[in-house]
Amino acid sequence: MDRTERILDLVALLLDAREPISWAELREHFPADYGGSDDAAERKFERDKAELVELGFPLTYVQGDDERRDGYIVDRDAYYLPEADLTKEELAVLYAAGSAALASGVFPGRDDLAHALRKIGFFAGQSLPTPRVRMELGAVQEGQVKEVSARLEQLWDACAARKWVEISYASPKHPNATHRRVDPYGLALRRGVWTLVGHCHLRGGLRTFHVHRVRELKVNTARPRTPDFQVPEDFSLDNHVAYFPWQHRFHEPLEVVLRLSGPLAARASGLFPGATLEPKGEGLTLAKLRVSFLDGLARFCLSLGADCVVEGPESARSRLREMAARVANRHADALEGKVTA
């Protein structure tokens, strides 16, 4: 019998059973499948049982007593999906977000997500919203989508089962690929880029990896149901992945003060979320922020134009001046006249 068919038969049998079903009975019901030696039959049933548990099938073994015999039983109430009573708005937001993630082509747990959307839509009848939200990931080239999607899926499984992975990784900064073993702690999406955060055995510490830069990936297949590592209690993905260029952890953090004038003054909170803002009257705002990658901040400030000025410290001021002077000099012939930083 086909394995899919056998497992579905088991589901039908167990959902219908009023009494626990013993192993001996199961063997009688499926003589062709659980025949052969005791050992082989048991191993086969163990695999089926594991699959049933994976499917969310609440299968338990009960020790019998005077009233009841030994055997397998399923809690039907725990099996059937109850109606979640989602309002129209709640369903719409879950559908919009879920389908945007699916449409992106690259979201960890894609299969899980597709099934979840189907299930929560089960009771909605005809009123199921048609979401019109899409997400495209910037760093992934068109031809790479399948590959990145497959890697995210493997990483999702590895994170969930806490199995280590072996990766070959090359970044634009260090184009020679390095091979390393990583304990995957989690995945974070920032500005269209998926990042793996985990303990890197090669570097002996926590590291972040852009998933689209992973060249090869292998998940440890030994003892699939036994975790290889523990994630530290106090671990938080958010502490390790940068939202903005100045948050990359390249040097000791320092506090930088920016002076935003003109139209930027009113947009300060949107441009520098998390910064301490000090409005200084009409059209002027001071923004204080923690910076651990000065060059990232300088480039961002430069792109904002003359209304964004670095007040201090001096190291930050001079870095921005150097960069601006470099750009001005490279384009100087268009205006004539050189600039010194």
Binding site: E5, D9, E136, G192, L320, V327, H331
Partner: protein
């Protein structure tokens, strides 16, 4: 995840779905399950062989196609789908984070309700897995009302500040929201311009949902903004140093032309001088406009202004 597992999950949903929607068309069912018509018919075939021992005629699932519609007469107790697994709930919750800042209370209450329908023994596992994907996006507040306007097919009005210009009023039929490289866009038909347009959400202000309904065209789909793909007569040649080249290649792929010195060159749309200037400046000296001279001059002026010249 194995194919057997995927197939089982699909089949455990299929029977209850048909049970709840008797007479669903083969096509609609295939769409709901994201499989081809052929694969679906094969799955239905398999299901007719499924049942419970002792496998008397009444013990099989009785599911059949009649006149291109699917019916189930005996579901063998598969009348509702299984509860969400920890992985399914975690993936759903993580994807919901994409819209968190824009979704108000609806998302919070939806997630609470989801957690309530999880089997108790799965909840802890769900919470653990949910912590492992962090898709919190920088979703702007405007996503909330725009999502609603798209769903309810109602026109919207807003003030739109094009770069270098003060905000001007627009009336738009909202078709689709698109997130690209962390930036959110609305695609729709703009009455003011009498054309399809892509609007950046961070440049919209005072969004109002009107009571004017519209019909959504079937092919409405936003093009992903890519300056290297919208070249025109005003295209600008930008050259990048060998330091920046690997990053530019990663972003533009084959649109980045390699140079002898290890750098790369990209030809980009030059219809927005302000955007181009900001973009070149954001490379902090590792990018240079080659031509036209007007664009070179704009970059030089902006860089000089930054240091007070």
């Amino acid at each position: 995840m194995s194919n057997v597992h995927e197939r089982l999950r699909r089949l455990l949903f299929l029977v209850p779905y048909v049970s709840k929607h008797p007479g669903v068309t083969v096509e609609a069912l295939a769409r709901a399950l994201n499989v081809s018509r052929e694969d679906l018919l094969e799955e239905l075939d398999l299901l007719t062989c499924v049942g419970r021992p002792p496998f008397n005629p009444d013990d099989y699932i009785d599911i059949y196609v009649d006149n291109d519609r699917v019916y189930v007469d005996l579901d063998q107790r598969l009348f509702a789908p299984p509860r969400l697994t920890a992985g399914e709930a975690a993936a759903l919750a993580a994807s919901a984070e994409l819209l968190r800042p824009a979704s108000g209370d609806a998302l919070q209450s939806a997630l609470q309700k989801l957690e309530r329908v999880l089997p108790p023994q799965v909840r802890e596992r769900y919470r653990e897995m949910y912590r492992k994907i962090d898709a919190s996006a920088e979703a702007p507040q405007a996503l909330g009302p725009l999502t609603r306007a798209i769903l309810e097919r109602l026109e919207v009005t807003f003030g739109y500040a094009s770069p270098g210009r003060a905000a001007e009023p627009r009336r738009v039929r909202p078709y689709e929201l698109l997130s690209h490289r962390g930036q959110w866009y609305l695609q729709g038909f703009c009455h003011t311009r009498q054309d399809s347009r892509l609007f950046r959400l961070d440049r919209m202000e005072d969004i109002v949902i009107t009571e004017t309904p519209f019909v959504l065209p079937p092919d409405a789909r936003a093009d992903v903004p890519n300056p290297a793909r919208s070249r025109s007569e005003d295209s600008v040649r930008v050259r990048f140093s060998p330091v920046a080249a690997p990053y530019v290649k990663e972003r533009f792929g084959q649109d980045a032309r390699p140079l002898a010195d290890g750098g790369v060159e990209v030809l980009v749309a030059g219809d927005s001088e302000r955007w181009l200037t900001q973009w070149v400046l954001s490379f902090g000296g590792e990018a240079e406009v080659v031509e036209p001279v007007s664009a070179r001059a704009a970059v030089a002026r902006a860089a000089r202004a930054s240091i007070g010249l």
